[in-house]
C-alpha cells in the first residue's frame, strides 16, 4: 500500500472578547493589584466574580474586594508544564479560597515539589511585574505564613477600565488526508488527475474520498481523468483575498475534468476575464514545483454544449 500522507496542521486565531461590566472590573482590578469578587443576595462572595448567580440565575453586580492571601482547598501536581501555562517549571494547580471569598480561584502555585503542597496551606498572590488587565496579572501563588493581607479599599471603580481582552486559541493537529486523497495528491506530482469510481453508482469522484457519499460504499478502482475539462460555472472575483497573491479581477470556476462526475474548483487564466463563459473548454497549466495546477486556460476547442455539463455545475 502506498504511503499515506501526514503533515502538521496548526489552527491558531486571536479571538477578542468583550468583557461586560463584571469581568471588566475584575481584570482591571488585577492590573491595579486588587482582587474583586461579587456578592450574591444570600451573602456569598464569588471569586472570580460572575455576571449571573449560578444558583438563582439573578443578575449580579455588587463588587467587593477580597484579600490577596488565602487557603488552598484542593490541588494537583503538574509534572510537565505545557506551552502557555503559568510556570515553565513543575507546579501545583490549586484552588485558592482567598480571605473573604466563599469560592475557589483556580491558579498555579509555585512550590519546590508535591511534598511542599497540602490542602489547607496558606498562600498569597505573586503579582506579575507587568500587568495589563488579564488573569496572568497574577503570575502565580506562593506559600505564605503571615496574616491576611490588608485590603486596598477599592470599590471596583478604576481609571481606564479594561473592556476587552484577546484570547488566543491554538490547536495542534497531525493531519492526514487518508489513503484515497494521498493517492490523488501523489498522482498530481506526476501532473496526472486520478479519481476513484464508485462500484455501485459508477460515478467517478475527483478528488476521491475513499467512499461514495451517495451510496455509502468504499471506492478503490482508480480512474485517470482529464487533463482537459469544461468550465461549468464561475464568478469573477473583484476583491483581493488576504494571503492570496492573485491580481484581481480573476475568474474562479468549477471545472469538470473529462471523465469526472463532479466539478473541482480552480482559477481560469490565459483569457480576458470578461470573455470567460460557461462551457469553455480548458486545460491545466502547471508551474515548476506546484502541487496543484496554477490555473486552467482555454484549449481552443469549441465550447461544450450546455446539455453535456448541466449536471456538473
Amino acid at each position: 500500500m502506498p504511503e499515506v500522507l501526514k503533515a502538521p496542521l496548526v489552527v491558531e486565531f486571536p479571538f477578542t472578547r468583550s468583557l461586560g461590566p463584571v469581568q471588566s472590573a475584575f481584570l482591571t482590578g488585577l492590573r491595579e493589584r486588587v482582587v474583586l469578587g461579587v456578592k450574591t443576595r444570600d451573602g456569598r462572595t464569588l471569586v472570580p466574580p460572575v455576571e449571573y448567580d449560578p444558583v438563582t440565575s439573578e443578575d449580579l453586580g455588587e463588587l467587593v474586594e477580597v484579600a490577596s492571601t488565602g487557603t488552598v482547598t484542593t490541588w494537583a501536581w503538574n509534572h510537565e508544564p505545557r506551552r502557555g501555562q503559568p510556570l515553565d517549571t513543575p507546579f501545583a494547580w490549586v484552588l485558592v479560597k482567598l480571605d473573604g471569598a466563599d469560592t475557589g480561584l483556580l491558579h498555579a502555585l509555585d512550590a519546590p515539589g508535591p511534598d511542599a503542597v497540602r490542602t489547607g496551606m496558606r498562600v498569597r498572590v505573586r503579582w506579575a511585574e507587568e500587568r495589563s488587565g488579564a488573569i496572568t496579572d497574577i503570575a502565580c501563588f506562593e506559600p505564605y505564613d503571615g496574616d491576611s493581607a490588608e485590603l486596598t479599599g477599592s470599590d471596583g471603580r478604576f481609571e481606564d477600565m479594561v473592556t476587552g481582552i484577546v484570547a488566543p486559541a491554538r490547536l495542534d493537529y497531525t493531519y492526514s488526508p487518508g489513503r484515497a486523497q494521498s493517492g490523488y495528491i501523489n498522482a498530481l506530482s506526476d501532473r496526472r488527475a486520478v479519481g476513484e469510481r464508485c462500484p455501485s453508482c459508477r460515478k467517478v469522484y475527483v478528488p476521491p474520498r475513499g467512499a461514495c457519499p451517495t451510496c455509502g460504499v468504499a471506492t478503490s478502482e482508480q480512474v485517470e481523468v482529464g487533463p482537459r475539462g469544461t468550465l461549468t460555472t464561475y464568478c469573477i472575483v473583484n476583491i483581493k483575498a488576504k494571503n492570496l497573491d492573485i491580481e484581481v479581477p480573476y475568474v474562479y470556476g468549477h471545472i469538470a475534468l473529462d471523465g469526472a462526475d463532479l466539478a473541482l474548483h480552480g482559477r481560469i487564466g490565459g483569457i480576458p476575464y470578461d470573455q470567460v463563459r460557461m462551457g469553455l473548454r480548458v486545460e491545466p497549466v502547471w508551474t515548476d514545483g506546484g502541487r496543484f495546477p496554477d490555473h486552467y486556460r482555454p484549449t481552443g476547442e469549441p465550447d461544450a454544449d450546455y446539455d453535456t455539463y448541466k449536471e456538473l455545475v
Binding site: L5, A7, P8, L9, V11, F13, F15, T16, R17, S18, L19, G20, Q23, V50, E51, Y52, D53, P54, V55, S57, T163, G164, A169, Y175, P177, Q181, I185, C198, K203, V204, Y205, C212, P213, T214, T232, T233, Y234, C235, I236, V237, N238, I239, A241, K242, N243, L244, I246, Y250, Y252, H254, D261, L262, H265, G266, M278, R291, F292, Y306, E311, V313
Partner: protein, 388 residues
Amino acid sequence: MSKEPVAVVGIGQTKHVAARRDVSIAGLVREAAQRALADAELTWADIDAVVIGKAPDFFEGVMMPELYLADALGAVGKPMLRVHTAGSVGGSTALVASNLVAGRVHGTVLTLAYEKQSESNAMWGLSLPIPFQQPLLAGAGGFFAPHVRAYMRRTGAPDGVGSLVAYKDRRNALKNPYAHLHEHDITLEKVQASPMLWDPIRYSETCPSSDGACAMILTDRAGAARSPRPPAWMHGGAMRSEPTLFAGKDFVSPQAGKDCAADVYRQAGIADPRREIDAVEMYVPFSWYEPMWLENLGFAAEGEGWKLTESGVTELDGDLPVNMSGGVLSTNPIGASGMIRFAEAALQVRGQAGEHQVDGARRVLGHAYGGGSQFFSMWLVGATPPTS
C-alpha cells in the same frame, strides 16, 4: 398517542449591530433570553430545559457554550443541550426544542441562538490551511456566486433581479427596529451601482456581519393557555441534510431542501404552498437566493421564481411577502440567523411584527439553510392550533 401541540409564547432579540462591545457573550444571550421571558411573562423558574445553538466553533472560538452559558441562561439544575448545523443552526435548534415539547419530555423550553461576529472572523474559520489542499480562492461569496450564475443560466433570469431583492429587504429592515442595517437613503439605483464583488454578486446584495442573539419560549397546550399574548402554533417542522459535494448535487435547488419543505407541508396539510401560505421568512445571505429558494420551496415552478420577485409578489405589501424582517441581507449574526427567521414567522402569525406586520398573516414559513447548501431546517407556524 398523538404529539403535544407546540406554541411559541415568547420571542426576544437583541438590537443587531456590527459590534456589541458593551456586553460579554453571556450578557448578549442573557439580553435576548430575558426579552423572551418578558414577552411570555414568565421567569427562569418556569423554564424546564434550555436548547442552545451557535456558529461553528472556529467561527468564534467558543467550544462549549453549554458549559460557559448555563448560568446566564438559568439552566442550573435543568437539562441543557447544544445543536450544531452550521448556518441553519438557529432553525434546527428551535426544532430540537420543539421536539422536547411535542414529545412531552418538557412542558416549557427556552431555545436560543447567537453569534458575536465582531469577536472572531468567519472568513478565517472557512479557510483553515489544510495541508495538501489548494486554498479556497474566493471566500464565502465566491463559493456561492457560481451557483447564482448557474441559476441565471438555467432559468434565463435577467441580471437585475438580485438588486430588486436587496432593495426590498433593506427597505423592510427600516421597519424592523432589531435589524442591523438601517439604510435610510437606500435607492434601487444605489444597489445597482454598488461594486461587483464576486460577479454576479454585488456588494449591496450580500449580508452584513453582525452581533446578535435571538431567543424563543416554546410551550405545550397548557402553557399556551396561560400566555398573555396570542401564541404562534407549530403546524409542521423538519430538517434534512445532504453532503456538501457529491456527484449529481444540484446546488441551484438542492434535493434536501425540496424534501424538507415537502415534509413540512405534509405535516401542515398544505397542498399548494403559494396559495395556502401567507408569507415566508427565508435564509437569503446573497440576494439571488430569494428566487432560488422560491423554487426550491415550491412557491414557484422551476425557472419561475425570479418572476415572483420581479413582479413585486414578494414585496411587504405583495401577495407573498418574503423576508419581512429585512432578512439575512440586513442582519447576520450567523449562529442566530436561522432562529431569527423562525422567530419572524412566529411574530407574524401572532400579529406582533409591528411596522413590518403582514396584514392577516395566518400561516407563515420560517426557513434556514447552512453549510455548502447542506443543512435545511424549516417550520410552518399558524395563528390557530393545529387541527390534527
